[in-house]
């Protein structure tokens, strides 16, 4: 009691300045505003994840007949159908199946593969690591370079450099991954013999061996990611550079490097983070085709294999993992955008 009194004591003189109570009142308000923004975005992300799981599950239920008759074919016997339905739990209502599937998946239990009866999670654990390694290497060799070149081509948007970068990005976007992939195989594997055409991952490989396996797939994946990131970075920086306050800075005679670094970049941060996130998310999906080219044992190749065999539980598991990664990357990016927003910066101090 006494303490609060002594705390309040110095307040009245401070009230003379109209500034201080305002500042005192603003700080916690801005802080809670930031927190509530972050919290709201986080909840939205969780909700999207839930909706995503529902879409993944529902997509396999849209069959006019049911999965059993589709998988076993038209001339399957009635007993075979019934037995198959029972193993999948198809005799239960869809909503019930969804919730039991989801709660099992949250515990890491994706069920048994229809193709070989083995637990799906065993395959996924080993393959997810491979896929993430591939995506990480591809991201490291493409994204930093793309962001830098994107900024360069925004600054020199009228000149020859910008137009050259623009054309090469367009070409990189247009060329399908398998053309890049087989060209790399033709040059570096068939003719030079530096790398293997098939990216086998054996247990007990050390990091350098695994990197040498991953290098061709990563360079196949890189051009598309590089091109998209560069084009989007260019657009993001150009849209900031056309703002009135940049024009003001130019008119004030501020040097160009200072304009770009101090005025444009903090405000281009949010779109840049979104650009990088979007392309990381693209990378996660791009691995599907690239892993198939190199027969690289990742989640993408596993999923394509399972689609061919109509192994529904495996496809659902892979779809859930791909989708969740995609949603989580976007969520993380949005949270970062909120934190780095210059207008909310005061709230963090």
């Amino acid at each position: 009691m006494k303490k609060t009194r002594s705390d309040e004591a110095p307040l009245p003189p401070a009230c003379h300045s109209t500034n201080k109570p305002f500042e005192n009142g603003k700080k916690p308000r801005a802080h809670s505003q930031l927190l509530s923004l972050l919290g709201r975005r986080f909840c939205l992300g969780l909700l999207t994840l839930l909706a995503l799981s529902a879409v993944v599950f529902a997509s396999t239920q849209i069959l006019p007949g049911d999965v059993a008759s589709a998988v076993l074919g038209r001339d399957a016997t009635e007993e075979a159908l019934r037995a198959f339905r029972q193993t999948l739990g198809l005799d239960q209502p869809a909503l019930l199946r969804y919730f039991s599937w989801l709660s099992n998946a949250l515990h890491g239990d994706f069920g048994l593969s229809l193709a070989n009866g083995a637990p799906i999670i065993d395959q996924i654990r080993f393959r997810l690591e491979n896929t993430l390694l591939l995506a990480a290497v591809a991201a490291i060799i493409s994204i930093p370079l793309a962001v830098i070149l994107g900024i360069v081509s925004a600054i020199k948007s009228q000149g020859r450099v910008g137009s050259f970068l623009n054309i090469s990005a367009l070409a990189a976007i247009s060329i399908p991954e398998f053309l890049f992939g087989y060209l790399l195989i033709l040059v570096f594997s068939t003719q030079l013999g530096w790398f293997s055409a098939i990216s086998m991952v054996l247990p007990g490989m050390d990091l350098t061996q695994r990197l040498s396996v991953v290098i061709l797939p990563a360079f196949t994946l890189a051009p598309m990611v590089w091109a998209y990131t560069m084009r989007m970075t260019r657009t993001a920086v150009l849209s900031v550079m056309s703002q009135p306050y940049i024009e003001m800075a130019i008119l004030k005679g501020e040097p160009r490097s200072s304009i770009v670094l101090r005025q444009a970049l903090p405000n281009a941060m949010a779109p840049l983070i979104s650009v990088v996130a979007l392309n990381l998310a693209y990378l996660i999906v791009g691995v599907i085709v690239v892993e198939t080219i190199f027969v690289y044992p990742g989640i993408g190749q596993y999923m394509v294999d399972a689609v061919g065999k109509r192994d529904i539980p495996t496809v659902q598991a892979c779809g859930l993992i791909f989708g969740a990664t995609y949603v989580l990357i976007n969520l993380l990016a949005d949270l970062l955008v909120i934190i780095t927003n210059p207008r909310l910066r005061g709230a963090l101090k």
């Binding site: 995503l52 396999t60 367009l170 003719q191 198939t292 399972a306 689609v307 976007n330």
Partner: protein
Amino acid sequence: MIIANQYVPTRALAGMGITIFIILAVAFGPLFMSHGPNEIVGDTWDAPSLFYPLGLDNLGRDMLARLLDGGRATIGLALAITAISFLIGVSSGIAAAVAGGWLDAVLSRSVDLLMSLPQLVLALIILTALGTSIPVLIGTIAILESTRVFRITRSVATGVAALDFVQVARLRGEGLWWIIRREVLVNSLPPIIAEFGLRFCFAFQFIAALSFLGLGIRPPNADWGSMVRDNAQAITYGVMAPLIPAIAIALLTIGVNLIADWLISRNSPAVGEEQ
């Protein structure tokens, strides 16, 4: 260069040249072939000769005949998919923009939901459940593509629907359908049409990728994606066979992209860079 009173940049002209050449070749080329695309005329991966300028494929079929015939399948499918996705996307996008209210909310939220999953992943899941027949393939990709068309149409049409002449038409007591058809649709069309080329490229690459993964058009019929897949083994012997259809895919995509880039930048100088 100036065509019909309009300045056309060299890049767009090059794009038109490539696109028209490929379309003519694919449309009329098969008529001049002395042998069918599924006819076995020699040994596996025979080298190019005067009679078979692109060599033979993994089963000893003429690559050129298959390339021309496969182009019909791949381009035809991509065109059908793009047309259907525009039909769905434009009509629902305009309806959402003009009607607003619950219709807009329902459509927009379901598009958000579909777009929260990567397209290829969603397509793979649906193809597992429904199988990979041609109608399923067209329907699946068209619906997934229509989400993008919906977004663009809705944003363009919302702008148009807020303009004075639409308000006047509303006050005049015109019906919703009349307003959509006579006022909003005609005034939102140019940027939407400019988008067609871009969406075609996506559908084209999508169908090629699915065929490459072995989930598209069934053998023995040729299409560019599955031709790459069938001949993939050749690359380890230094044979170019899988590169030929892959180059064809790249060329057509570059051609259409060059045209689309020009059309989009003409309609809206600021946007059109992304996607």
